[in-house]
């Protein structure tokens, strides 16, 4: 059976650089960071944006790494908004100044998402391994609102900051955020190495969620809070990006096109925008299309009536946990490997290890992610 033809890619994530001034233990970037010299140049990015828009993409995220480290960011934003994209900047805020906030506004940037690591300087700066970044971020958040951007704050919730949830809610309100994502870390890439230290216990999560709900109930205005629980505590996996290669297209700093920012870890040969048109990438028959449809599915997914809902779950998670990217996502309680998830849960809250910070200088080559 031929693979189903997808609709247009609606979402383009442009990871414009691997470089990042922070070293968060939960980073979902690949554990083996690319080399800055491999980064594609301005012209290739501008072409890629034009092609994506032509194919129908309308949401565009600039991320990294830290996208602000690209000095041509303003130029790319300008080009994208002239094309009619809704442009999102996903940033740690480090490197953001009033001058750049203003320049980006003039370039047509639609929205800024700022990520925080915690609600107090101690936790924030400890987790991100950088002093004073907390005060700087607060200042930046105020400027973002002053320049009339919609602002999303993203708090990455882990075992190290989950006790601060009340403070986080108050901080977000005080900073006038429009949307607040309280996202429990997903265990891909770097975060996988720290899984046992970062995964909150089920009780911690339930307490935090109860606090969020109470806060929400008492709200008459202010930010909209979105609480995302890790799928480790579910019995059904998350749908892979709305279906593999159905909506999302990620282009990495070196030009590799992926169905999701994590997919690079899979033993597949993904096409590159340097030598292949986006149209070929999206509609052609490269590995980009590998997990489209359900021909690849193993049992129990193959005959499962829920397969149109979750598409068998996350391929990357299956790969990391079982070593075989074709397996049913172990989060599913129908998976013969579900015990792997239960073992991880049992360890949550009991870890003695210290967090491994991502420092390119001592990058530890633990490559659960790599096969070559």
């Amino acid at each position: 059976m031929a693979k189903p033809q997808p609709g247009p890619p609606l979402w383009l994530l442009a990871e414009v650089t691997y470089a990042c001034p922070l070293h968060c233990p939960y980073c979902s970037n690949p554990t083996e960071l690319g080399d800055k010299t491999d980064e594609i140049d301005t012209q290739t990015w501008l072409d890629t944006l034009s092609q994506a828009r032509e194919l129908g993409a309308v949401q565009l995220g600039f991320s990294g790494g830290e996208p602000l480290l690209r000095q041509d960011l303003e130029m790319m934003v300008k080009h994208a908004s002239d094309l009619g994209f809704y442009t999102n900047l996903i940033t740690s805020g480090i490197g953001l100044t009033e001058k750049r906030i203003k320049a980006l506004k003039e370039a047509g940037l639609a929205h800024i998402q700022l990520s925080f690591q915690g609600a107090s300087p101690d936790i924030n700066d400890l987790v991100g391994q950088r002093k004073h970044s907390f005060a700087h971020k607060q200042k930046i958040a105020r400027l973002v609102k002053q320049y009339d951007y919609p602002m999303v704050l993203n708090f990455c919730i882990t075992a190290t900051n989950i006790h601060e949830i009340q403070e986080i809610l108050e901080l977000a309100t005080e900073l006038n955020a429009d949307f607040v994502e309280l996202a429990t870390v997903q265990y891909y890439g770097w975060a996988y190495l720290n899984r046992d230290e970062l995964l909150p216990t089920k009780t911690q999560l339930e307490e935090a969620e109860a606090k969020v709900n109470a806060y929400r109930d008492a709200q008459t205005s202010g930010p909209k809070f979105i609480f995302v629980t890790p799928d480790y505590y579910e019995t059904r996996p998350k749908a892979c990006m709305n279906g593999w290669g159905s909506t999302f297209l990620t282009v990495t700093p070196d030009g590799t096109a992926l169905p999701c920012h994590s997919a690079r870890m899979l033993p597949l040969q993904f096409p590159n925008v340097k030598d292949t048109s986006l149209e070929k990438i999206w509609y052609g028959e490269t590995d980009f299309a590998y997990f489209r449809g359900d021909d690849w599915m193993p049992s129990p997914c193959k005959t499962c009536e829920e397969k149109d809902k979750d598409f068998g779950g996350c391929r990357c998670q299956a790969y990391m946990l079982t070593g075989d990217m074709h397996k049913t996502d172990p989060v599913c309680d129908k998976s013969p490997n579900h015990h792997l998830i239960q073992a991880a849960i049992a360890k949550a809250g009991h870890s003695q290890k210290t967090l491994v910070y991502r420092d390119p200088k001592n990058a530890i080559p633990i490559s659960i992610a790599e096969t070559e």
Binding site: P8, L10, L55, G56, V58, Q59, G61, G84, Y86, N88, A110, H111, Q113, D148, P150, V152, D178, F179
Partner: protein, 87 residues
């Protein structure tokens, strides 16, 4: 009644590839059906709900009787979703 405005967090635009109007907001998108789009296109910060109904009546003289009720429903829903603000 007070004038209706589109919440500045949202952007309304026509998308050729999807052949419909969409509402865009931080990291999200809502596809609009043709009647929702027609109503939102009238939300310009000057007209109140009565004026919007009148404008749509003028634009679609053959529309059925219950169009007014449909508009009221949609305006209520759009308000609840925070897409539009009153006054």
């Amino acid at each position: 009644m007070s004038a209706l405005s589109l919440n500045p967090l949202y952007r309304l635009q026509f998308e050729k590839a999807q052949d419909c109007y969409v509402l865009l907001f931080p990291e999200g998108m809502v596809k609009l059906n043709p009647s929702a789009a027609e109503i939102l296109l009238q939300v310009d910060g000057n007209k109140d709900e009565t004026a919007i109904v009148a404008a749509l009546r003028a634009k679609f003289p053959d529309a059925p009787e219950d169009m007014d009720a449909d508009i009221a429903d949609f305006v209520a829903k759009a308000t609840e979703n925070n897409w539009i603000t009153h006054g």
